[in-house]
């Protein structure tokens, strides 16, 4: 095939307006329910807000990570689908929407936000230089700025490349490769501190050195799942034509690998704390094993490990778009469950599951749909200027 690409000069095929309306409808419904929730049970609402905030960050930042990973590894198969990840990363600037209500409710969420509690507790006093509201807020702002900056830089290069011809656009690829190399350590640090600050400090007496990696595994898994679902839907509706079993197999095996990775990290964390049996560490898991939470723990293992493992194990399953779509949605739900399991026992030592848990995710889902739909109107669905696009389309196992 020649370098000339007549039909790919512009590959915009926006999602139909009904998708945007659906997204906006879900989002608005969600906002209303948020408001009601905060009015009726502010502490409970804050916790659900936190779960959805962590969920949104996972997908948005995870998508950015997947973009960087593609550049740094020199991967070819994912190039035709990279735009989807760029759209998902476009959620990063929207994360403060979910964070700001949390900042008004730090007292309800975190023990360490109460100065009197800290003054009475030796351990919390020792952590106070880190766990205090001001530094906490500064960390979030710095993280947000950094991540938004990288999102903007990556996508700017990728989009600019769309309007270049031949090898003149290669410089954007080179720039993004360099950017990825710088981004990866930044990503590691930011995702770790998001996990420490928002998830681990809910139980400020507890700590686990692997917490950053634990959140990372869920992040990549959920970003992959979201991207896979969207990619397959786009493929089915003619928006990403030309994708073959080879591409789906790569997505499927990456998801399978990260299901295993999540299970490995989760098990390591649990087993080490179980084995050493130190009360200052085990109390956290004991909390997650009493008063109804044990059911959720077991459910989590089944939902996030056993079922996806069994479904994705056969080679044909990894290549089958229908099964991949199902498992992608399944894994998104599993990641929500993971965050819910992690966070909620701090809210209530007895199992709580109600209308808020079921309805608050509407905001996140609605936001995701709206943003992705909006971006399909503005940008090409494939990175048409990317020099590896042709190789990516022709990719064979």
């Amino acid at each position: 095939m020649s370098e000339h690409r007549p039909q790919m000069d512009s590959l915009k095929k926006p999602l139909p307006p009904r998708v945007t309306y659906l997204g906006l409808a879900l989002f608005s419904m969600g906002i209303v329910l948020y408001a009601i929730g905060y009015y009726v049970e502010p502490r409970h609402a804050a916790f659900n807000n936190l779960i959805n905030f962590l969920f949104l960050i996972s997908i948005a930042v995870g998508a950015l990570f997947l973009i960087a990973l593609e550049y740094i590894a020199g991967a070819v198969w994912s190039v035709p689908m990279r735009r989807v990840n760029e759209f998902l990363a476009g959620l990063i600037p929207f994360t403060p929407l979910l964070a700001i209500p949390l900042f008004f409710h730090l007292h309800e969420l975190f023990h360490w936000a109460h100065t009197d509690v800290v003054a009475a507790d030796e351990l919390l006093k020792a952590k106070a230089p880190y766990l205090n509201s001001n530094f906490f807020a500064m960390r979030f702002i710095a993280t947000f700025i950094l991540l938004t900056l990288f999102y903007w830089l990556f996508t700017r290069n990728s989009l600019k490349q769309d309007s270049t011809k031949d090898a003149k656009g290669d410089i954007y690829t080179r720039r993004n490769i360099r950017l990825s190399a710088i981004f990866l350590p930044v990503f590691a640090i930011t995702i770790t501190f998001i996990a420490i600050d928002w998830a681990m400090s809910l139980e400020p007496h507890w700590y686990s050195t692997i917490i950053g990696i634990y959140y990372f595994s869920g992040t990549v898994l959920s970003a992959l799942a979201a991207a896979t679902y969207i990619i397959i839907r786009f493929h089915e509706t003619g928006r990403l034509p030309g994708l073959r079993r080879d591409h789906f197999y790569s997505l499927g095996s990456l998801m399978f690998a990260f299901v295993n990775f999540w299970a490995y990290i989760a098990f390591s964390q649990f087993m080490l704390i179980w084995y050493a049996n130190l009360p200052e560490e085990t109390f956290w898991f004991i909390k997650h094993w009493q008063n109804g939470w044990q059911a959720v723990s077991i459910l989590l293992i089944i939902v996030q490990f056993a079922v996806p493992y069994a479904v994705l194990l056969p080679q044909e399953a990894k290549m089958d778009p229908k099964r991949l779509k199902f498992i992608a949605l399944w894994l998104l739900a599993a990641h929500w469950l993971d965050l819910y399991w992690f966070v909620m026992p701090t809210y209530n030592t007895s199992l709580t599951f109600g209308w808020m848990e079921l309805s608050f995710p509407l905001v996140t889902i609605g936001l995701m749909i709206t943003v992705v739909a909006w971006k399909t109107k503005k940008h090409n669905l494939k990175p048409i200027g990317d020099p590896k696009l042709k190789r990516g389309m022709e990719f064979h196992l």
Binding site: A126, K127, L184, Y207, S268, A276
Partner: protein, 456 residues
């Protein structure tokens, strides 16, 4: 050449200049037919000397007891376990290159996979030596490490991570060996058909099991290879995870950290790649394989060294931060002790070699400079050896109760067993390059230009 412009539109060529299948055969078979050069003999002599020193030390340990070594209470583990973890770690690079890069379809791995797998097997043997003969004491009881019905009615303690180690390292050795041997089958076939020597022909025929290059066999073979790679990947992660459990399941400050499993795995890959890179730099020059094991391969390995070194650095930072965050005086002390205590020299060697020097690999010109990368590779190995030493000895010498603190000093016998590891490993490596094909011939042919039909 520092400034080659990459053309992203073309499939990157694995080899420099056009190489055909026949060229591969000729180039890789050549060292096997030549009488080894003087340089090989010198290297072999050195390796053999180290090995002999090591074996003599082991003999002394067998007859006079392991009290000859420097460890005692409270530092009950020192050089022995440091070396064990070090060598198991080195082995991980081989499987990563063979299995994981295969699953990721990074075709450049074909040129170095054979060598890396061989190094894995040798490294695991060395590690096994440390655990069985260099620190067991009553070595002839080593059979008790495995669960078998015996007249005492005793079983191994399945709850102990030391038993998990037995299973993990044995499985790792066996599976790596099978994976390596499966890769060697077609090459033995080729060598069998090319050799003129009557005795070599018999040996290669037996070793090749009669491989006929039939495509009906290749289809099963390829499937099996993929499945083995798929098993070897979680296996290699599990092995060093289980080795890390030896430490992490304890309550000792500095040892009991949940990050140990992925931290150890990253560290293993890190040190393994440094060792592979070092040895390959030498081998490709000696055997004139520069057109097959190219600068691109070395650069890719250096990138992986940078990546895994950064992961190790992340783990150091995480441990340090959490030690402070925990508020536990014991945890906080351990880290201060590592940096400022009696073993500070080892700690700072570790940090500079593992975190600081590999950062040079951010710059392309250092990634592609033979001398610099060789030095950094050695430094990484030194740093990783010291990492295990620091982890083990600082925590053991100063844990919870100051009245139980004690110092460890190595005796000359400790250095004797250290030379056993290096001697055995390099002896194996030198024998390997003399008698077996150091590059996987069939795998290399698969990725040459024009090797695959044009529809694919």
């Amino acid at each position: 050449m520092a400034t080659e412009v990459i053309d992203y539109r073309k499939e990157p060529s694995i080899t420099i200049q056009h190489v055909t299948s026949a060229d591969i055969d000729a180039a890789i078979e050549a060292p096997l037919n030549r009488f080894p050069s003087r340089r090989w003999w010198i290297a072999f002599g050195v390796a053999l000397a180290l090995l002999t020193t090591g074996l003599c030390t082991v003999a002394l340990l067998l007859f006079q007891g392991i009290g000859l070594l420097g460890f005692n209470q409270p530092v009950a583990w020192a050089f022995d376990v440091t070396n064990f973890v070090f060598w198991v770690g080195i082995g991980h690079a081989g499987t990563l290159i063979s299995a994981i890069l295969f699953l990721m379809r990074q075709r450049w791995r074909n040129a170095i996979a054979r060598f890396a797998e061989a190094m894995t097997i040798f490294a695991v043997i060395c590690a096994g030596m440390f655990v069985t003969i260099a620190h067991l004491g009553r070595v002839w009881l080593a059979g008790y490490l495995f669960p078998y019905p015996n007249q005492h009615g005793l079983w191994v303690n399945f709850i102990s991570p030391l038993v998990w180690d037995v299973f993990a390292v044995s499985t790792y050795f066996i599976v790596s060996f099978i994976f390596w041997y499966l890769g060697l089958l077609p090459d033995f076939g080729t060598l069998r058909d090319r050799t003129e020597n009557k005795y070599k022909k018999i040996i290669y025929s037996v070793l090749s099991l009669g491989w006929r290059f039939s495509n009906r066999h290749w289809s099963h073979y390829e499937r099996m290879y993929l499945i083995l790679a798929g098993f070897a990947t979680p296996l290699v992660l599990s092995v060093h995870t289980i080795v890390s459990f030896d430490f992490a399941v304890s309550v000792n400050p500095g040892w009991h950290a949940t990050i140990f499993p992925p931290y150890f795995v990253a560290g293993a890959v890190f040190s393994g790649f440094a060792m592979v890179q070092n040895v390959l730099v030498v081998v490709r020059k000696m055997f004139k394989f520069e057109h097959i094991i190219t600068m691109n391969h070395l650069e890719n390995m250096n990138k992986i060294i940078l990546l895994t070194g950064s992961m190790v650095g992340y783990a150091y930072a995480m441990e340090f931060f959490m030690a402070w965050y925990s508020g536990s005086q014991f945890e906080r002390f351990v880290f201060l002790n590592r940096a400022l205590g009696p073993y500070a020299w080892a700690y700072w060697t570790m940090v500079s070699c593992n975190v600081v020097f590999p950062q040079l690999f951010w710059l392309k010109r250092f990634r592609r400079n033979i001398f610099i990368m060789f030095i950094i590779g050695i430094l990484v190995n030194v740093g990783m050896w010291f990492e295990r030493y620091v982890i083990i000895v600082t925590t053991l010498s100063r844990d919870f109760l100051p009245s139980s603190w004690g110092h460890f000093s190595p005796t000359m016998y400790d250095f004797g067993i250290l030379s056993l590891g290096f001697g055995l490993f390099f002896t194996f490596v030198l024998l390997f390059v003399r008698f077996l094909p150091s590059v996987a011939m069939a795998e290399m042919k698969t990725v040459l230009e024009g090797a695959q039909p044009s529809q694919h």
